[in-house]
Amino acid sequence: MESSIKSSKIDLDIYNLIEKMRKGDRRAVARLITKVENGGPEVSKQIIKEIYPETGKSFIIGITGSPGSGKSTLTNQIASEYLKKGLKISIIAVDPTSPFSGGALLGDRIRMKSNFTNKNLFIRSMANRGKLGGLAMATKEAIHIFDAYGSDIIIVETVGVGQSEIDIFKSAHTTLVIMPPGMGDEIQAIKAGITEITDIFVVNKMDRNEADKRVNELETMLDIAENIVVDQKNHNIRIIKSNKWRPPVIKTNAISGENVPELIELIESHREFSKTTGLKNKKLAYRYKHYVVDIIQYFQNKDIERLIFSNPKINEFIDQILSYKTGSDPYSISEMILELFSKRYFS
């Protein structure tokens, strides 16, 4: 039985869309993203295989922050600055899917209205569809599509809850964490890991009194973080973090645009730093390692499912379970199957 990952067929429909995208057709770009959102890795595979050689050129900025931090407005300002330089910008705005209904409300476009009709800007709203890690696999594929489409900059903007920060880090070259001033104790609530993934801290809404206080808190936290031992959970992050880059803290006002040009300068200097120190390549290696893990997990799960449900041999194992004897419990049987499985795949 051939593993589904090996098939290299491509639907004509998908191929045509890619051809159109190559000619700059924006609707084709949009439809390709819909395909990776709805079709799962079986569809994504066809697309990524075809476009991969055309990717690797975009600069990817991750932006995260708690709801109400003003990150969408700031994203719009950053995009505006880059648009002024004549660059092609794509934005992926990720919002959470409701765990109750499976639906989602995606309201980020409204804050980007001033740039709506600029043809150099492409905004795509995505629901994370409840996948672990906030940034769904589809987002990573959408990044590749925007990359192949020829975006100079891709901004991935997502709500800052838990795992998604780590996910942004996996996908972005430069990660911004946005914080509003004076929301009380949330700085304590931020996991130690945040300093590890952040390249630039932005304290937005600088017109508020508490902005300076928040900047000081962050600086203090960074001072401490430089000396602490790595958190076990995040050890894999630490390995690739260069000690030389201390995340700068900058105040902005996303509504008025104050300090946004200065923020762009910081982003650019981090970009330069990453390139010269090799950080960029480390990050890329990290990103693709995880991407590969995601892909393998997906297809292996599918293979396992197929094995369990269609392989007649399995029925013998199931019969053993049904005997209710010592050593025939579902765990012991699964261990035996897994052993056979590893032999097939990894020996």
Binding site: G68, L105, G107, R111, K113, S114, I255
Partner: protein, 571 residues
């Protein structure tokens, strides 16, 4: 035995008797026929008991909490004689097509006994665009009258003596400009500013919170409002400078308590802003008026109006040091709830409007707009508008409801509910004050920027929709008693022809071609200059208006200086 002791003794007896009645009589009855609902609550989610007794208002002090009509704390009425001297002002909101057409509608309403004018402007005026702007496409004359320049305003009041009628104008971000146009029309008619009476809505906070017709960010918007207050205090003393409006907050889906609390908090924010400018509170507070909604829950609405008067009086006197009783006294206009009208069986709306109007009258409103029954279908037709006006006249002349002041005062239920509304309102005040670190003005602006109000309102409106779909809230003819047959056709619906737009744009261009262009440009330049400083803008806007600069031109200049506000959307 003193009378207090006697009262206390009585209360004990009533309490015991009520317990007995509940446990014996009611219980038995419920065993046979249970109540219709598990919980009874009003539109503010306040649970309603089956019966109210003196025990429910045992802490009420008549003199302190109710007093007498026209006296602090004004719970019973704003005026000492209330409707025994004069009925409320019957003021129907009107505006459609161009100035000429609306002028005819005004004259029709006056001929039918209306006693005040109320202007609805079309959306391009409200947002400060000229009728010729691409943003105005499809909107010219649709939801109100198209006003671009002073020429339109002259036409609007042609043949109407401004010394004899008061005019209310529903306009916010460009309020100062429309006020100036009105002053200029008055001057042409020979009516001096100090004699003109009327109201501009000029309430920008509720625009951010609910109605969404803001243009500039909150800070410059507040400056324009305070400029207007300052100018009118000195030059147009009989003008109501702000109509602090809960109507739109309610229409956006808030509860009655939210309407009450947000509106009054906004009012207090304007008071603080005036004081901050260096004005004496008693110089301007008497010219602040209010505007409430009248929705379906009859007693809740009445309690809301009574509570509003008491809360306003208390805060103005206690917190802001107002000494003039006119500063304490809350006067308000009411409009029946547009959102309660149904497109199905439109004639049923006449009955809804009647009940809502009666609630407003029993709550002591100073002026009233009754909605036309066809408004869920289109702009109101002449016949429907007349019936709406007749509704008020019937309540006034035939029902006897206007013959006694505050006839529901002293009702155990209404008093208990009035107290409850006040209590809930104060909870919101505390929240707003906390956001502003002790200042309601700062709290209001922080609340707007943090989407506090928007979120509160969105949640309430969504909850109501859910309840409606679950039939926990009933709309007769919509989710219960649905009638499938043919209903009587309403009178012919008003449609504004798209020709109005062409005509209006042509007129605008004509006015611009005929005006002294150098003077117009000079006036606009001057506004630009003054807007960047702190001097009062109103005199310069008045000059520009008289030079026939359009609303769109003046706002266009201010937009460049003040910038444009954008909200985050809250669902």
């Amino acid at each position: 035995m003193t009378s207090t002791e006697k009262n206390r003794g009585n209360l004990e007896i009533i309490k015991k008797e009520k317990e007995r009645w509940t446990n014996e009589i009611v219980k038995k009855s419920l065993e046979r026929v249970p109540e219709r609902k598990r919980v009874f609550k009003n539109l503010s989610n306040i649970n309603i008991n089956s019966l109210y007794t003196p025990d429910d208002i045992k802490n009420m002090d008549y003199i302190k909490d109710l007093g007498f009509p026209g006296e602090y704390p004004y719970t019973r009425a704003a005026q000492p004689t209330s409707y025994r001297a004069r009925f409320w002002t019957m003021r129907q909101f009107a505006g459609l097509g161009d100035a000429k057409e609306t002028n005819q509608r005004f004259k029709y309403l006056i001929a039918n006994g209306q006693t005040g004018l109320s202007v609805a402007f079309h959306l391009p005026t409200i947002y400060g665009y000229e009728s010729s702007s691409p943003m105005s496409s499809g909107e010219v004359g649709k939801e109100g009258v198209a006003i671009d320049t002073l020429t339109d305003m002259e036409q609007l009041f042609d043949g109407i003596d401004l010394s004899k009628i008061s005019t209310s104008m529903t306009i916010n971000a460009p309020a100062s400009i429309l006020l100036c146009m009105y002053l200029a029309v008055g001057e042409k008619q020979g009516v001096p500013m100090e004699k003109l009476t009327g109201t501009i809505q000029n309430d920008i906070l509720k625009e951010y919170q609910a109605q969404k017709s803001y243009i500039f960010p909150p800070e410059p918007s507040m400056r324009l409002i305070v400029d207007t207050i300052e100018f009118c205090t000195k030059n147009v003393p009989k003008w109501n400078t702000i109509s602090i409006s809960g109507y739109h907050i309610r229409e956006a889906g808030s509860t009655a308590v939210q309407e009450l609390a947000f509106t009054l908090a906004n009012g207090l924010a304007y008071v603080e802003a005036g004081i901050e400018r260096g004005l004496n509170v008693d110089e301007f507070a008497p010219r602040l008026s209010h505007f409430f909604n009248s929705h379906n829950n009859f007693f809740e609405e009445i309690a809301k109006y009574r509570a509003a008067r008491r809360i306003w009086a208390k805060h103005l006197r206690e917190d802001y040091g107002a000494k003039d009783p006119k500063s304490w006294r809350l006067r308000f206009h009411t409009q029946t709830a547009g959102v309660s009208l149904t497109a199905k069986e439109p004639y049923n709306n006449v009955i809804r409007v009647t009940l809502q109007a009666l609630a407003a009258v029993l709550g002591g409103t100073q002026s009233l707009h009754t909605n036309s029954f066809d408004e869920a279908l289109a702009l109101p037709s002449e016949e429907a508008v007349r019936i709406a006006l007749r509704t008020q006249q019937i309540i006034a002349e035939e029902s006897g409801a206007a013959d006694v002041i505050d006839p529901l005062g002293g009702s155990y239920y209404v008093e208990a509910l009035t107290n409850k509304m006040e209590e809930e309102c104060e909870k919101y005040f505390a929240k707003i004050k906390k956001m502003g670190k002790g200042s309601i003005l700062k709290g209001s602006i922080v609340g707007v920027k943090n989407n506090f109000y928007q979120r509160e309102i969105a949640n309430a409106s969504y909850q109501f929709q859910r309840e409606l779909e679950a039939k926990e809230q009933i709309q007769v003819g919509v989710n219960k008693y649905i009638f499938e047959g043919k209903v009587i056709e309403p009178p012919e619906l008003i449609k504004i022809s798209d020709e109005v737009s062409k005509e209006q744009i042509k007129n605008l261009n004509d006015v611009k071609a005929q005006r002294d262009e150098a003077l117009a440009q000079k006036c606009l330049e001057k506004i630009k200059e003054i807007a960047q400083g702190t001097e009062n803008l109103i005199p310069y806007i008045l000059d520009a208006v008289k030079a026939y600069c359009s609303v769109g031109e003046i706002i266009g200049v201010l937009r460049k200086i003040f910038t444009v506000y954008r909200e985050e959307s809250i669902f």
